[in-house]
Structures are given as C-alpha cells and as structure tokens.
C-alpha cells in the first residue's frame, strides 16, 4: 500500500515537472511545425540563473525564480526574433540540425559561464521539510510541485479556452495560413507562445532540479525525455502532453521502484507500443 502511495506521489510530481517543461515544446511544435531540440536549453538557463542568483548572489528563492524566468522569457523572445523565425521555413531535418546547433551554443555558454559541475539550487527552508498528514508524511517539495503543476494546468486551460489570445492561438494551430488571412497577427502569437513556453520550461527546470539535476549538458541529456512526452501526447495538444507527462512519470517511477533493472527497457517499450497503436500520439491529429 505504502509503496503504491509513494510511487503515485513521486510519479505525479515527476510528471508535473515533465509537463511544465514539455508543454511549451508541444505547443510550439504544433503551432510552428518546428522540431525544437533546443527547448531543454531554456530549462537549463532557468536553472542556471537561479543557481547563480541563490548561491552566488545570495538572493532569496522567490525573487530569484522570478528574475530567472523573466530573463529566460526575454532571451527566448530575442532568439525567436533573430533565429527561430528563419528556422520555421526549413525542412524537418534542417530544423533538427539548426536547433541542435542552438542547443550546443547554449550548453557551451553555460559551460563557459558556470563550468560543467552540478549547479545546485538553494531551496528555501519551507520547501525542504515534510508535512505530517497523520497517517503518512509527505515531502513538502513534492506537494509544492504537484500544487504548482495543477495551478499551471488550470491557468493554461483558462488562457487557451477562455481568452481572445487562446482563440487566436487555437486558430493558428489548426491552420496558420487561414488564421493569418483572417487578420490574426500570427507572428505576434508565435513570439508570445514561444516566450511563454520557454518561461514554463525555465520554471519546470528550476522546480525539477532535484529530479533532473541542472548541469551544462542538461539540454542534451534530457532532450529525448521531453520529446517523448510531446510525441506520446500528440504535437500541439496541451491535454495530451499533460496525460503523457503524468502517465510517463508514474510509469517511469513505478518501473524504477519495482523493477529497477529493466526501467529503461520498460519505458521505451511502452513508448514504442503507444506509437504502434496510435502513430500520432495519444491526442494527436492525423
């Protein structure tokens, strides 16, 4: 009983982290049809900024996180203007190559700035204890991550389903040429979505630093993981990314707890099975 409970708590919080990092990737892929292998770079930059702000500049956690996310959003929007805008036009393979090149540059920059060691983030006292529920104690960090994850999901839902921006975004995902000819400023939507996705990735990277440790090679090490979430969920589908992230998080955690020797094989076999049954992912459109 207790092991199932542990798997669920760890799996769901892991899934929430994956969701936060991957959702921006999924939406930009669905929107701009670009396979962005540099997305993990934004999570790394978020983590690296927070590391520098909390450990070296000795700022307290919350302002550091806010500054780090803001910084990443600004960098992402600048990169969208200067680099990614041109990459949208490329073929699939050139996109993969160009974004891998960008990932290399981000890795090299962080490596040059902070070195290749582990970049620890100083979490505040109130996030490192544990909560006593009477029948069980829970690590505060996990609970916090799950709560934040739920808040992000709800906020995204409202943004996409209930606002003018969301309507335009959905229209652009469905058919960007049609949306553009109806007078929707798609270039602006691209830039905002890209910045938002990068900001969420940075947030996920910071919160997930205990599970996916921040270091210079982060974007390459976890790139496959994030892409799997997107592909399994279906490109462009927020709900799909959420379902994929949570179920992959639980599956991976369960496999690690119960059959640690075969966790990688189980994880990838499950993924292949899903693709054989649903080639476009859980909620992807064919």
């Amino acid at each position: 009983m207790s092991i199932i409970f542990n798997i669920l708590i760890d799996g769901i919080s892991y899934g929430m982290i994956l969701f936060m990092i991957a959702v921006g990737l999924s939406v930009t892929m669905g929107l701009m049809k670009v396979i962005n292998l540099a997305h993990g770079g934004f999570a790394l930059l978020g983590g690296a900024f927070t590391h520098w702000l909390t450990v070296q500049a000795e700022l307290s956690f919350l302002p550091a996180v806010a500054i780090a996310i803001l910084g990443v959003v600004i960098i992402a929007i600048l990169m969208e203007f200067s680099l990614f805008r041109r990459i949208y036009e490329f073929g699939e393979l050139e996109q993969v190559l160009a974004t891998i090149g960008i990932a290399f540059l981000i890795i090299a920059s962080v490596n040059y700035w902070l070195g290749s060691t582990l970049l620890a983030i100083k979490f505040p006292e109130y996030l490192s204890g544990s909560i006593n529920l009477g029948f069980r104690t829970l690590p505060v960090h996990r609970v916090f991550v799950i709560l934040i994850g739920i808040v992000v999901v709800v906020a995204l839902y409202i943004l996409i389903e209930r606002t003018r921006f969301g309507v335009n975004l959905r229209a652009a995902v469905d058919n960007r040429d049609m949306a553009a000819s109806l007078g929707i400023d798609t270039a602006r939507i691209y830039a905002i979505t890209f910045g938002l996705g990068a900001g969420l990735a940075a947030f996920g990277g910071i919160l997930g630093a205990e599970l996916l440790p921040i270091e210079a090679y982060y974007p390459l090490r976890y790139m496959v993981l994030f892409l799997i979430v997107v592909a399994v969920g279906g490109m462009g589908s927020i709900l799909g990314s959420f379902l994929a992230a949570i179920s992959l998080g639980i599956l991976d955690t369960a496999a690690r707890y119960l059959m640690p020797d075969f966790s990688t094989i189980i994880f990838f076999s499950a993924m292949m099975l899903i693709f054989i049954i649903r080639p476009h992912g859980l909620l992807g459109k064919s």
Partner: protein, 339 residues
C-alpha cells in the same frame, strides 16, 4: 539502332560508369596515400575518420537519398560492432568473416526495426529510432556476462587478414584495411544510387504520393533501403570493433547518432562525396578544437552547424556553386544598375 539504346551492352555500361567515377576514385586514392605519408603518427585518428565515413555513407543512403530522418542510426552500427566483437572473441578471429557477421547483424536488426519505422513519419519516426537505439543499449548493458556491460567488451584479438597481413601496432594495416573497405562501400553505393532502385528512392524523397501513384511499393523500397543501410552501418561497427579491439556501450549513444547526422548535413546530404567531406571536416574540427580548447569546442561545432544550415543549405559541397552564384551576381550588377 533503337535496341542498342534501350538495352545497352552491360560491358559498355561498366565502362561508362568507370569513366564517370574513375577520376574521383583516383583522387581519393591519391589523398589516402598522401595523408598516409604526411601524418604517419596520426594513423589511428585517420582510420577513425575512414570508419566514420563508411558509417555516414550508410546514413546518406537512407537519409540523403530516401529522405528518412533518423536519430537512431547508432542502433545498427552498435549491433554490428557487438556482434563482430562477440564473434571474434568466441568463434573466429578472421577479420573478413567478422565483417560479414557485422554486416549481417546490422542488416537483420535494420530489417526488423524498419518494419515498424517505415510506417511512421516526422516526430514519431525520430522518437522511434531513438527508442530502438536506447533499448538495444540497455540490453547490451544488462547482458553483462556476454557483453561486459558498462566495462565494455574486451579481449578481441584479430587474426591476419586473409591469413597473410598482420595488424601492426602503428595501425598501418588498419588504415589500409579500412580504406579498402571505404572504396568498396563507395563503389557499391555508386552502383545502387545510379540504379533504378536508387532513382526510386530519390523519387520517394521528393514525393511519396507520386511514387505510389506510379505503382512503386514505397514501404518495401524503404525497408530494403534501410536494410542495405543497416548492413553498411554494421560493417562500419564491425570495423571499429576489430581495429580498436574494444566495444563499449558508447556505440549505441544518442550523441553518435546525432553527430553523424550533423556530419552528413555539413557535407551535403544526398551526395556520397558530401558524406565523405562532412565527416572529414567535422572530425578534424572536433579533433583540433578539442585539443586547443577542450571545454569550448561546442561553440565551434554549434557555430559551424548553424552557419552551414543558414548560409549553405546544400552543405559544404555546394560551396563552390554558391561562390559561382556570388560571382555571377556581382557580374550582373552593373547591367542592372543603369535603370
């Protein structure tokens, strides 16, 4: 006379083929002899370049010609390396038979995975290719008693080639052995890509729907191409196992799969010489950048990749053509300005 045109004499076809290629083959042989004497202390590194060239050529067939994007080609290379290594340790030390084992195992694993892969497209396809390589890597890791797991497979000792030519410590035999194989693979791929089968692959790259419409079995063509590519990748893997006398889990690394794609695009995909040029440039830049500044070579590789993608979409091989475009543009300028 018409019959002569539609059914050319096979002897004639070979002559025409050789006429078209002989200059390049001669150039490659001349370069190989030149670098052999110019860099006698770097034969290990040069041999590594040659092995990777064979590997990148195998990728070119499926990616450059058939247009199938893959980030898991190491699955085929790694399987060839492990099988050839195991064969050498347990069954026979003959290098030539070992290459055959590598080619066969690469082809078999390629055929099986192609049955799944060639039904998928885009991101799903990329993810599946990655997944297959990762699963194979994990299997090799877990089968510790057989493969040595994370310690790698060691104890490979090669017999002389054809029972005559011994592998030496300097690596001269390894160099010429690899180079001979590179020429054979290049020759073989020239024949394949010039054949109706190769033209069919180019057709599939340009438009799958059109190829279906003219009655080509697109799926099976792709499976066949992937299998051939797997055999060549298996040869490259086997060669690396035989020459380094070690197989480690790195042969299945994602970064290896990604790097060979970079090498191919760098040189120019869909042209066999592009694969050769890209591999050489990438590995030489990597080698020198890593020895000059081991921590920041990613800046150089990243910049090189972006530069080629943005400014030379056809790869380095298209550089002279691009220059030609610039010169014609400059020479045209005066004619247009008077208006």
């Amino acid at each position: 006379m018409n019959t002569v045109r539609t059914q050319p004499d096979p002897g004639n076809a070979i002559m025409r083929f050789l006429k078209k290629r002989i200059a390049v083959y001669a150039l490659l042989i001349a370069i190989s002899i030149a670098v052999f004497f110019l860099f006698p202390y770097d034969l290990g590194f040069l041999t590594r370049i040659i092995i990777m060239m064979i590997f990148v050529l195998s990728l070119d067939l499926i990616l450059g010609f058939a247009g199938v994007a893959t980030l898991g080609h190491a699955a085929l290379y790694g399987t060839g390396a492990y099988m050839a290594g195991l064969f050498a340790v347990h069954i026979s030390a003959s290098p030539i038979v070992g290459l055959g084992v590598g080619a066969l195992s690469g082809a078999v694993i390629a055929f099986i995975s192609a049955l799944i892969l060639m039904r998928a497209h885009g991101l799903t396809l990329l993810m599946l290719t990655i997944a297959i390589a990762e699963v194979l890597k994990e299997i090799a890791n877990k089968a510790q008693t057989l493969t040595g797991g994370a310690d790698g497979l060691s104890g490979i000792v090669m017999a002389p080639i054809f029972g005559q030519i011994e592998f030496d410590f300097v690596g001269q035999t390894g160099y010429w052995y690899s180079f001979a194989l590179l020429m054979i693979v290049l020759f073989f791929l020239h024949i394949i890509t010039d054949s109706p089968f190769g033209l069919g692959l180019r057709g599939i790259k340009q438009s799958t729907a059109r190829m279906r419409a003219i009655g080509a079995p697109v799926y099976w063509r792709l499976v066949a191409a992937y299998t051939v590519s797997g055999a060549i990748a298996g040869i490259a893997g086997a060669l690396s196992a035989q020459i380094t006398e070690l197989v480690s889990l790195n042969v299945y690394d994602f970064s290896l799969s990604a790097e060979i794609v970079i090498m191919l695009i760098l040189g120019g995909a869909g042209r066999l010489y592009g694969a050769l040029l890209g591999t050489a440039v990438f590995l030489i830049v990597h080698h020198t950048a890593a020895s000059v500044d081991p921590f920041n070579w990613l800046f150089i590789i990243g910049g090189l990749v972006l530069g080629v993608i943005f400014f030379l979409p056809g790869g380095l091989l298209s550089f002279p053509k691009k220059l030609g475009w610039v010169t014609t543009w400059f020479s045209k300028q005066p004619e247009e300005t008077p208006r």
